[in-house]
Symmetry: C2
Subunit: 190 residues, 2 copies
DNA sequence: CGCCGAGTTGAACTGAATCAAGAAACGTGG
DNA sequence: CCACGTTTCTTGATTCAGTTCAACTCGGCG
């Protein structure tokens, strides 16, 4: 939980009192590797900070190879089916652990209270939304503008350690191509 | 300006005093049709509410046909190169009017003051960021998941009046295909 | 009336998907 | 620590959607 405190302090000024209040609302959740802890159709109840582990976000399909992985979250980051969370409507995708994972989660209702009761809460909520917007915005432009080869190079530049942490087949669909196509892109480049 | 007030009131409770403060910071900007009022490389200084008119967001290219249009904003909506605005870093795209347009704009520095000085401001900032996140998130999933034909149908469902308001060639690149391909998609469907 | 931008249509080309098979890496139990 | 099965990655052949280039139609608007 200390990691989370440091993370928040790096974003904004928070008093000890505010932290006490906020942290009292956190719930620890522990999942084993390869566990789907949010399924398509369910409503996301939490925003979670990853104390340990890693999580994959993907749109499920009949056949496992056709799943579309569109995000990864690691230790020291937040994870949520955030669009489902914001609208409190069913999620269109799954959250799955890629390793044994420990989360600190705050529920939707509790977070609304934090927004209402503390100035710092509202600011934090804005920061989270802004940060996620920037991520998605960059991605939209990359998907519309860049070739798949360029997108591969982008990932390589932006998240070089991703390649040690997850199988290529997930990165392939993150880039928007099949594993076969990714394999050929890598061959072409190297 | 009254439109904007109504719009904000529909989102959250704002006192007359808060509105007075906020609206005193707004700046009216009027542009003719076909005017690029933010160029690639410039830093976006404003978030603007469109009182009248329409705006296209696009990544410019050497040849005009290769431009990538990735957004449209109309009367009663906000417009901004929001990623450039948030980071106060150079924009990678242009904002261009598609008709004579009137904006009410608030500057970055003034908005930071509003965030600091009023609770309602901070909440409004969060709402804007959340709303834009939802938009981009949906789009990411559409670009990764759907065929171009499906994306066309999505636009048709989500924004049916778009087709009356902008030329097809802009919608084509919004969907992520050439105007020729869009023409064939439309033929195939009807 | 003639011009110009928007949209359509055709033909050739291209990058990526698909189908299929084999090689390499990985982890689990003996 | 090795043997085995499973998963991941690679490679080849074929197919397909969409791009590109080019020509043509249509509907304003000067």
């Amino acid at each position: 939980m200390n990691e989370l405190k440091k993370y928040i302090e790096s974003l904004l000024d928070i008093t000890e009192q505010e932290w006490q209040y906020f942290s009292s609302l956190l719930m620890k959740r522990v999942f084993p590797k390869k566990m789907t802890f949010l399924k398509e159709g369910q409503v996301e109840s939490y925003i979670s900070f990853i104390e340990k582990g890693k999580v994959r976000l993907f749109i499920p399909k009949e056949e496992e190879e056709k799943e579309i992985t569109f995000g990864f979250c690691f230790q020291g980051e937040f994870v949520s089916a955030y669009d489902s969370f914001l609208r409190q409507s069913p999620s269109r995708y799954n959250l799955e652990t890629l390793a044994d994972t420990t989360l600190w989660s705050i529920s939707y209702n509790d977070l609304q209270e934090v927004y209402k009761n503390t100035a710092v809460g509202s600011t934090m909520g804005r920061f989270i939304a802004e940060k996620l917007f920037l991520l998605k915005s960059k991605r939209e432009q990359s998907l519309l503008n860049d070739s798949s080869e360029q997108r591969y190079l982008n990932v390589f530049k932006d998240r070089p350690n991703l390649f040690e942490q997850v199988p290529l087949k997930y990165i392939a669909s993150y880039i928007g191509v099949t594993p076969q196509a990714l394999s050929r892109i890598r061959k072409r480049i190297s």
